[in-house]
Symmetry: C2
Subunit: 297 residues, 2 copies
């Protein structure tokens, strides 16, 4: 809410340098803050998670009073003045914004990490009265390393109406600027939870969610079920599940496939060897989301 | 088939410079050739379009006879010796390969453009005896500009068993190295046809393929049909169609929506504003491919 009505025009100041440093994971961890770049992400943060916002930096035109460089930035500033109780609004010159981020498009915000970091134990899901999860769909990524993939899958999980996205073991930090941009703001819409492999399996067991692993090959004991067959049965989709995806290059290790309740594969009708991770996730998440909704109708 | 058993070790030679220049569109057009980087793409070119191959460059280890640096490269070289009748095999040093491409991973090939460039008129599709297209599914991209998107959609169209991919109006050149890499070799599996907007509509009309435009908003006259509703009717998917996708940022212009037979949108179940182009394409192409196959069973 507070607004500093003077223009920051010192790209080399300590404050500006510290914001730019939030592109590095170790700085985010040390300061407990992260950077939100561009109108799309800042708008969603203001709309859905205003409590996490500490500072908003708006780029203004030179010699035009305090006029933001874009209408989008001006609108978000106005919303933030009402919705973000703790956020300070600052105005910066073009060269100062360049020093903060090359991807600002006129607006950048700084958020408090702990307000968005969800602990697995505290994540509440809609559950029916027997305590069994009903129609809960979550996705889990194991050791996903590409920021674009991770962000795009978070965005798709949001669009498909999933209740949460779990990052299992050593995935890329969801608060890195590249991941954030690829989510197009969806990181402010659904809970993104970082867990170890054991924590993940405990979490789904507690909630009685079957784990469906996405894998082309399966194990020596189990052949994957083809997606259309799984949709035809449609029990699983309708009663809730956790869809587990592996690393871009290595997929899921046998140990994780063995701990999963079933294995699903996407049929290849043409000559391609496979789909890439993000496309597989889009096909599976949406097929199951549409199927479970049709099943409930 | 012919093999030059001496190692090229001159990164600055005219020949090497000319291959590297094939990363530029105007050079590809002038020389009528394109560059195929890396084991995955070269392997698929050798397996599925060997007639287009002119030269294959294999990186060899220093002081180890003519031993390729990777087993993959060695295997592809062996296949090419049998399968690619016109291709010359050359061996190059590591620094020479670096000068050709940073993404070679030990093997690069040069292909003749005219052998892969399919003319819309000459593209044959499976048709029934009445002349009406039966279960033909093709995808069309209008003014798609991101190489990664275009390549990934070609790969997904291949995996989903589509018969062709049409690039309408001014799309990114499918023979650029970035697109080729993103196809993971699928450009050698399905015909990729470059057409103008008018040629596209004539082409689908001749083949009696209804055009289904993917669009969130529709026109003032027509609301988009939601994908699950379209799948429930499933007529269109079973009897063949052309799915049309628009530009990443601007989508499809009204004029093109009005010329299409129907408009389909993917439901958003969560808070995301939309899916990105590649993810939308994955969801639509696969939903329709799976649905038409179930319908035919």
């Amino acid at each position: 809410m507070p607004e500093y009505r003077e223009i920051i025009d010192n790209p080399r100041s300590e404050r500006i340098r510290r914001i730019a440093e939030l592109s590095e994971r170790r700085r985010r961890q040390r300061y407990g803050r992260f950077m939100i770049e561009g109108p799309q992400c800042v708008r969603e943060a203001v709309a859905c998670q205003p409590q996490c916002l500490l500072d908003i930096y708006v780029e203004v035109e030179p010699d035009a009073g305090m006029k933001p460089v874009s209408t989008a930035a001006a609108q978000i500033r106005n919303s933030a003045l009402k919705a973000a109780p703790r956020a300070y609004i600052h105005y910066v010159s073009s060269r100062t914004m360049q020093a903060i981020s090359k991807d600002a498009q006129g607006i950048v915000a700084v958020g408090r990490l702990e307000d968005l970091q969800v602990q697995a134990n505290s994540l509440l899901l809609p559950q029916d009265q027997t305590g069994q999860a009903e129609s809960v769909q979550v996705a889990a990524l194991w050791q996903v390393r590409d920021p674009g993939n991770e962000g795009t899958i978070i965005r798709t999980a949001d669009a498909a109406g999933l209740q949460a996205l779990l990052l299992v073991d050593d995935c890329v930090d969801p608060f890195s600027p590249k991941v954030l941009r690829a989510t197009a703001g969806s990181i402010f819409h659904i809970p993104v939870v970082q867990v170890s492999t054991d924590e993940f399996f405990t979490w789904v067991q507690t909630r009685q969610l079957p784990v469906v692993a996405a894998d082309v090959y399966g194990t020596s004991d189990r052949v994957p079920v083809s997606l259309p067959d799984m949709l035809a049965q449609s029990k699983e989709a309708a009663s809730g599940l956790a869809l587990l995806f592996g690393n871009e290059a290595r997929g899921l290790p046998t140990a994780l496939l063995e701990r999963s309740d079933s294995i699903v594969s996407i049929p290849i009708y043409g000559k391609a060897e496979s789909l890439n991770l993000a496309m597989s996730a889009a096909v599976l998440l949406y097929s199951l989301a549409m199927s479970s909704r049709l099943g409930r109708m």
